[in-house]
């Protein structure tokens, strides 16, 4: 354990860390007094509605706005031509591509934005949008990445390279892996499609854009998970200096990666306020959200594992075809076009591995956001956990035993993976043992054998995953060139209360509580006296925001180290107050005391008062700091999840009987909040395993554009979860924390699916893709000749 973590002094009772302190943000939410973007109303504010394309691929021969402009209250209608005047018809994407804001000469996917209408009321804007006449000439649609790969129809005519292929990204030793596979005693192939899904925070994306024509300042109230990054992007595309742009991300009704990108609606609203000189509000409808927000996943993967007859893995190869939609708008750090997918060797000690991803354009909504996931880690984890189960079955081994045989051992950390990562720490065996014991694995296997003998269908699914989060170290991680550090500012007021600001932005994660806990612990202050503020670029220090489980690994480190810097100064003040040299002062029991003399002590609060009333001679008055923390490595949370299902052989209904989730996210700041995030992520994993999928037909028609067809689980479907933790602190993080919000979404889908396959395996079923509907199971059973009654 490093000195940094020892500093927390885990041997004794902590003051604020590790406690289930009730959330300080709750009071306004339970009273309906949160402030979300749609709650903001400004004088003279106009409402914006968007005209969308009914075609997935078509030329635009003309746009007639005459009738629409006659609707009472309509102030203006803009198309790409108008935006071109401001150089805003196309904007750069995070992936180095560009995308249309409003359709120029053609539409590339169904529901693409074609025109924006500004009117006095929401209803007038919608009415007028329906009267905008667009003349389309349909083109051949390519809605499938495998069809796109043939390059028969080139979708992006604006690009120099006449191909639908966007990139090939590969990592590892291809030759050595192929050789190892060729020589392997056992080779197991596993295909898996991770369906296209929508993150679906319940609050749709929204903006209130307000250009003050007197001051020249542009204020954007925005559903933003990354306000500073968005300010920089707005400045780069509009030419307005960052100092004249203020982004305020108020309360956010869920993000899950959905609120990381810059969407065309935002740009249109900003253009609207700049041109019209009055505030403009746009709130996406659910249909707009489902059809035009960045999608997630859509990875067609194939894994091959080589192993010895005794069940020791020797090689892994994973190849993927990725559907990126009409523009490459994937939200990944610059150097990683397929995100952190190369974590696909998971928790297992593969001597050699290779992976490659080929991405293609199709006539579908662009995107590739990390939906409650650290950049394609969900896909990687799902693939390896599915493949490990298949390999175990092929070897005729118990999937638990097979995992034990192949785990990276505790002593191997820091572990260099064959795909280039240095895993910081972990104890996979212990975590898995805790999970197996909690679920009663051996008894369950006995029960399963008895049930099988009676023709009943029961399955046990395992996922022992490793995540890679906390992007990230600036040597490798940037977005548009901006390094992915994060910042925290701590100001101690004269009376000892505090304001803390960070470059992150909570969307339900509870930073107003957990950030206060970190600072309270480091400085011996009361959590209640620490106010946490995020989301306003005028006041918060720079940081790249909250997604990819990065807040605690990055800003959490900045808070702890910033607080320690303040403590150093406070120590000098304490020496001044106690009339000794700073060398004679020690920090003990949350106080500064003369070494070995507990009766001679002062608190941080005493020092804060002195910092303003009686500063130490030669020292700057005041007690505050801004700390930018550039993490030395990523963090690698892990977990062991076990799912037990019963399947009704008449109907195909899968009932999740139990779900045990043991997570290891390192040091825990607030166990209640960690458990809450795990519950939520397990529910979203359930949603992906059994319900959620965006479906297109061959013509590129989006077939489930709202929640009547895109199924979100309710309290009635979601199973109960049994959670627990082991604690392996990160050796390099200032408080040993690793991040947790996404572990359950990353780790759980494979556990659900493996349970279903385990249940159906006696009937020869080895393949089933998410979402696992009753129909799919029913058909598999009937195809296997299982009688319904």
């Amino acid at each position: 354990m490093s000195d940094q973590i020892k500093d927390l002094n885990p041997a004794k009772e902590c003051r604020a860390m590790g406690k289930s302190i009730k959330r300080r943000e709750d009071a306004r939410f339970v009273q309906g007094r949160g402030t979300y973007v749609d709650d903001i109303e400004l004088p003279k504010m106009l409402h914006m509605a968007i005209v969308h394309s009914p075609y997935a691929h078509a030329l635009i021969k003309g746009i007639d706005t005459a009738e629409a402009l006659k609707v009472p209250g309509v102030k203006a209608i803009i198309t790409a031509k108008d935006l071109a005047g401001f150089n805003l018809d196309w904007i750069p994407t995070l992936a180095g591509d560009k995308q249309m804001v409003l359709a120029t000469d053609r539409v590339m996917y169904q529901y693409q934005e074609v025109a924006a209408v500004f009117a006095e009321t929401r209803a007038q804007a919608v009415d007028a949008a329906q009267l905008v006449e667009v003349d389309y000439e349909p083109l051949e649609v390519v809605a499938d990445p495998f069809k796109a790969r043939e390059d028969k129809v080139i979708l992006r005519t604006d690009r120099e390279k006449k191909t639908n292929h966007i990139f090939n990204w590969n990592v590892g030793d291809r030759e050595a892996t192929d050789k190892a596979l060729a020589e392997a005693e056992v080779r197991v192939k596993q295909k898996a499609y991770y369906p296209r899904v929508h993150a679906s925070p319940l609050e749709p994306c929204a903006i209130v854009a307000d250009m003050n024509t007197a001051t020249g300042r542009l204020t954007l109230y925005l559903t933003s998970q990354a306000p500073h990054a968005h300010r920089t992007v707005v400045s780069l595309v509009t030419g307005i200096p960052e100092s004249n742009i203020r982004i305020v991300s108020p309360d956010i009704g869920g993000g899950f990666g959905n609120k990381v990108p810059v969407y065309p609606g935002y740009v249109c609203a900003a253009a609207g306020t700049i041109v019209l000189g009055v505030p403009v509000k746009w709130v996406a409808t659910r249909t707009e959200s489902m059809t035009t927000d960045s999608f997630a996943r859509d990875f067609h993967m194939e894994a091959e594992i080589g192993a010895t007859k005794e069940g020791k893995v020797t090689a892994l190869k994973v190849t993927t075809v990725a559907d990126h939609g009409a523009f490459d708008a994937a939200a990944d750090p610059s150097k990683y076009p397929a995100g952190l997918f190369s974590i696909c060797t998971g928790s297992y000690d593969f001597p050699t591995a290779f992976t490659e991803v080929d991405a293609y354009y199709t006539n579908k909504t662009p995107g590739g956001v990390a939906y409650r996931c650290s950049f394609r880690v969900t896909e990687a984890s799902y693939m390896i956990e599915r493949a490990m189960d298949t390999a175990a079955r092929e070897l005729n081994m118990d999937p638990a035993e097979f995992r034990f045989k192949n785990f990276i051992q505790k002593e191997q950390f820091p572990y260099n993976s064959p795909l280039g990562w240095t895993y910081d720490s972990g104890d996979y065996e212990t975590t898995f043992k805790v999970a197996l014991e909690k679920v009663g694995y051996e008894e369950l296997r006995k029960e399963q054998a008895e049930k099988r003998a009676k023709g009943e269908i029961m399955g046990i699914g395992i996922s022992t995953f490793t995540e890679i989060v906390g992007a990230g170290p600036s040597k490798d991680f940037d977005i548009l060139g901006i390094k992915m550090f994060d910042g925290a500012e701590i100001r101690i007021h004269p009376t000892g209360s505090v304001i803390v600001r960070a470059g992150t932005k909570s969307q339900g994660q509870g930073h107003e509580t957990t950030w206060a806990q970190i600072v309270a612990e480091e400085l011996g202050l009361d959590v209640d006296k620490i106010l946490v503020e995020e989301g306003d670029t005028d006041t918060a220090p720079y940081g790249l925001g909250t997604y990819a489980s990065r807040s605690t690994p990055t800003a959490g480190g900045a808070l702890a180290l910033g607080a320690r810097r303040i403590r150093e100064k406070a120590k000098r003040i304490a020496a001044h107050l106690l009339e000794v040299s700073a060398d004679d002062i020690e920090w003990e029991d949350y106080k500064f005391q003369i070494k070995g003399v507990p009766s001679k002590s002062v608190t941080t609060q005493d020092c804060a008062f002195a910092a303003y009333t009686n500063p130490a001679p030669g020292d700057e008055p005041g007690l505050e700091t801004t700390y930018y923390y550039d993490p030395p490595n990523l963090t690698f949370p892990h977990g062991a999840y076990i799912c037990v299902v019963d399947i009704d052989k008449s109907t195909g209904e899968v009932k999740v009987r139990r779900f045990v989730a043991i997570d290891d996210c390192g040091t825990i700041i607030n166990p209640m909040i960690v458990e809450g995030q795990v519950h939520g992520g397990l529910a979203e994993g359930f949603a992906m395993a059994f319900m959620q999928e965006i479906v297109y037909d061959e013509e590129g028609n989006h077939l489930n554009t709202n929640y009547t067809d895109y199924l979100i689980p309710t309290a009635y479907e979601v199973p109960k979860f049994e959670t627990g933790n082991t604690v392996t602190p990160s050796p390099h993080h200032p408080i040993g924390a690793k991040g947790v919000g996404e572990s359950p979404t990353v780790g759980s889908p494979a556990a659900y699916v493996n349970a279903v396959i385990d249940a159906l395996s006696p009937y020869g079923v080895s393949e089933i893709d998410m979402p696992i509907s009753r129909e799919k199971v029913f058909s598999k059973l009937r195809a296997a000749g299982v009688e319904a009654f």
Partner: protein, 161 residues
């Protein structure tokens, strides 16, 4: 057209279009922002308010004009400040919320449920709230919160301790 809405015991004279949905009248005409909008198919339930003291209604499924003559209760009328309703208290204490977007509606649906069934089983609660989506909590702590509030409301004297 001018109508009068009785919201949280107060009369609001509002000028709405015949097509104005109740949720927009509450939010934009009455200034009560606690009911949210999350979908356009009456699926998500984040706009739920209570009609006539016990009927949970998704306020996006009702025109404002249809609400005239009814007593409407929104989250703002349930409790506030130092006088939180046992449900509001329980959602906080049981960590039954994260981003807060579904919370007012989840509490209003729970309120209506407890008017009909003061001692619901877990299954009753899960069924009773199945018109309200939440993306953050996985529902477990919401169920616990409703159980706590139900117990508090059955024994108000004990709950005050």
């Amino acid at each position: 057209m001018e109508i009068t809405l009785n919201v949280n015991g107060q009369e609001h004279k509002v000028d709405v279009e015949p097509r104005t949905l109740l949720v927009y009248a509450l939010r934009e005409n009455c200034g009560l922002k606690g009911a949210h909008v999350g979908c356009d198919s009456s699926s998500c339930g984040v706009c739920t308010v209570v009609l006539d003291g016990k009927i949970p209604v998704k306020s996006c499924t009702m025109f404002a004009v249809q609400a005239e003559g009814h007593e409407i209760t929104t989250i703002e009328g349930l409790g506030g400040g130092a006088n939180l309703h046992p449900l509001q208290k329980a959602f906080h204490e049981q960590h039954g919320l994260q981003c807060g977007y579904c919370t007012p509606a989840m509490i209003m649906s729970s309120y209506a449920l407890l008017q009909h069934n003061p001692d619901p089983s877990e299954d009753d609660i899960r069924r009773g709230l199945s018109g309200n989506l939440c993306r953050c909590t996985g529902y477990m702590n919401i169920v616990k919160a409703v159980q706590q509030a139900a117990a508090d409301m059955r024994q108000p004297a004990e709950a005050a301790d």
